[in-house]
């Protein structure tokens, strides 16, 4: 057992009112200082290219989705959030997804899909908010996931920069 002795108060402290005045002076001073709270959600969180938000699909500049539905992200996903069905196209790249669902309730924002993608087609965007009225509405389909490449360009550049740091010079040249 530990006996904690209360601090003996001095006469000034025992008088009570001076201490109240001292406390309120701090309160009033803070009222006029710069505020550090954020009015979320009116004022969104600051994000940058390092922010690992929700995964989004890249739409290339020619208007076609970059994904070829190879299934790498699907198999890399530790939360089984991704479901892909492939289909045929007439373009030079013969394959594209006909269904690309990410169950955002399952997604743990780990970024493995981004790492696994061989086609630069899925990137972690800076979109963080996730709220809706039903579970079904949070299974995002392809149309909800598509983003123009320009919107994700900062993240793409960042990932390339990050990877280049570890890339060894070619052993065969």
């Amino acid at each position: 057992m530990v006996i904690v002795r209360r601090k003996d108060l001095s006469l000034l402290e025992k008088l009570y009112l001076p201490e109240i005045a001292r406390g309120l002076s701090i309160t009033f001073r803070k009222l006029f200082e710069k505020k550090i709270t954020r009015q979320y959600p009116e004022e969104p969180l600051p994000t940058n290219e390092v922010t690992r938000g929700q995964p989004r699909l890249v739409v290339k500049d020619d208007g076609h989705i970059a994904c070829v539905s190879c299934g790498m992200c699907e198999i890399a996903c530790p939360a089984y959030a991704i479901t892909i069905d492939g289909g045929e196209t007439d373009r030079a790249i013969e394959r594209e997804p006909v269904r690309f669902d990410i169950d955002m309730l399952r997604c743990i924002l780990c970024g493995f899909c981004e790492e696994a993608c061989p086609k630069d087609a899925i990137y972690m965007s800076n979109e963080l908010e996730l709220a809706d009225y039903s579970r079904a509405a949070l299974v995002y389909d392809m149309e909800k996931l598509k983003r123009p490449k320009a919107a994700l360009q900062k993240r793409i550049d960042y990932v390339y920069r990050l990877n280049n740091r570890w890339r060894k010079s070619s052993s065969t040249r």
């Binding site: 198999i75 492939g86 045929e88 790249i93 013969e94």
Partner: protein, 481 residues
């Protein structure tokens, strides 16, 4: 048997088989592209090179698929020289092979991909562009050829020459312009085209039906037996997301089908994705067929199944189901029979027997009687009550004509029952890919079925339904005879 040494271990090798066979038998994983155990070896890909030492001679690097086994030969599959040679061969093969793996259907089961990954040389040394060729060349209704991916192993050419004995493919043009083509660009013919996609070691020949349908690592594979004819080819059933049957592929079974299967059987996988199923049972009420519980349906069936009941089974019944059916028949005092449709006309010299009853021999050995669809219907029409059991039994008895029979009360056990079908009670049963059991093929070989996909919730096995019906009949006083 010949004694040879593979990787320092003395092993027995079959002198009739090439060296690569002995290597694979003894755990030495020599890669192979042009060699296929079912086809003659040609040694065109050169990827199976191993180091061989005979007597006092120097160690030489030879292709294992074209080297006969000789007494006392010392084989080292991982010798630095052999390994280096294989690596160089791989580099040449990858020179023109496109980096298509994310798109290619073969990815995941591709020998070239596996070995390239194992070797781990990520970058090529060539500055020349890869060959630009036709990536979507249609070869008939079944196969599509990607010329860029082809490594000219000629397995497909040898398949049409040696297995189907109807040469249709050839390597045309010379040198670096070589491609695979049919003669005069005619479409491929025959009932064995699907095997070309299986023998292709890369993704050059792929099935149109399977094109971009699934990634192979997502497919759950279960061993099974094909039910399209009485040959009963050993197959693997591949199911995507526990739901869609995506592929039937042949499974090596030397007593039945070796490595092959016919297209009729291969593409019968589509039949198992039918959405209309009877879950779990139905009985005829005032509004037509009404969904009911299995228990209720069986109870109603037990009420009218007595006297001279016509018992017609399906040739798709497994041995186990047939035994339950036979027991039920003997309780009802009926002779077990199965409906045996006319030959399909697909009979050929290779595998297809043209007989659409996969378990004919098994049922005949159990004492079943084979009845033509017309004879089956005649027997049903003559009886006051009838019992039809087994997958596709309504279809094989010719639905429309069966429905025209008025009079007998019919209890049906089938995968689905339509409104107009002849049945007072219908009980849903699992499909071929949803049940386990055995079929006996035409030569007496027992083929196994395993559950590749769960039956719809509530649907119980045919054996169980039949046994429960038998118990109900016993309790209601239909004596066991």
């Amino acid at each position: 048997m010949t004694k040879i040494i593979i990787n320092g271990r003395e092993v027995e090798a079959d002198p009739k088989e090439p060296l690569i066979h002995a290597c694979h038998q003894n755990g030495a994983n020599v890669p192979m592209y042009c060699y296929h155990p079912g086809l003659s070896p040609v040694g065109s890909c050169r990827i199976c090179q191993v180091e061989v030492k005979q007597g006092n001679g120097p160690a030489r690097v030879v292709v294992a698929c074209r080297t006969p086994v000789v007494e006392g030969m010392v084989v080292d599959t991982e010798a630095p020289k052999a390994h280096e040679t294989r690596r160089e061969c791989l580099e040449f093969l990858l020179k023109n092979h496109p980096l298509d793996c994310p798109i290619c259907d073969k990815a995941g089961e591709c020998d070239l991909q596996d070995y390239a990954f194992a070797e781990g040389q990520g970058e090529g040394r060539s500055n020349e562009p890869r060959r630009k060729l036709d990536k979507r060349k249609s070869l008939g209704d079944v196969i599509v050829l990607d010329e860029e991916r082809c490594i000219l192993c000629s397995r497909c050419v040898r398949f049409t020459e040696e297995i189907t004995k109807k040469p249709q493919l050839a390597v045309v043009d010379l040198g670096s312009r070589s491609t695979i083509s049919t003669f005069m660009d005619r479409p491929l013919q025959g009932n064995y085209q699907g095997n070309l996609a299986d023998v292709c070691p890369v993704g050059a020949l792929t099935l149109k039906a399977f094109r971009f349908q699934a990634r192979v690592w997502n497919l759950k594979k279960s061993l099974s037996t094909c039910g399209e004819c009485s040959r009963g080819c050993a197959i693997t059933v591949e199911v995507l997301r526990r739901k869609d049957v995506k592929r039937f592929r042949p499974r090596y079974e030397p007593k039945v089908n070796n490595w092959w299967m016919c297209d009729t059987g291969r593409f019968s996988s589509e039949r198992h994705n039918a959405t209309e199923r009877l879950v779990p049972a139905a009985r005829r009420g005032s509004q037509g067929l009404e969904i009911a519980s299995v228990e209720r349906a069986l109870k109603q069936a037990a009420e009218f199944l007595s006297g001279a009941v016509a018992c017609i089974g399906s040739p798709f019944m497994t041995i186990e189901e047939a035994q339950s059916f036979a027991k039920l028949c003997s309780q009802l005092g009926a002779k077990p029979a199965f409906v045996s449709p006319a030959p399909s006309g697909l009979k050929d010299d290779l595998l297809n027997t043209g007989d659409p009853c996969p378990n004919r021999r098994g049922l005949l050995e159990l004492g079943f009687e084979a009845l033509s669809p017309a004879a089956s219907r005649a027997r049903i029409a003559a009886a006051p009550a009838a019992l039809l059991a087994g997958e596709r039994v309504l279809e094989l008895c010719e639905r429309a004509q069966l429905a025209a029979i008025r009079g007998p009360r019919i209890a049906t056990f089938d995968t689905h029952a339509l409104e107009g079908d002849a049945c007072d009670v219908a009980v849903g049963i699992p499909e071929q890919v949803e049940k386990s059991g055995h079929w006996v093929n035409i030569d007496g070989h027992v083929g196994k079925l395993t559950v590749a996909r769960a039956a719809p919730a509530g649907v119980q096995a045919l054996t169980r339904s039949l046994d429960e019906l038998r118990a109900l009949l016993t309790s209601s006083g239909v004596a066991s005879r």
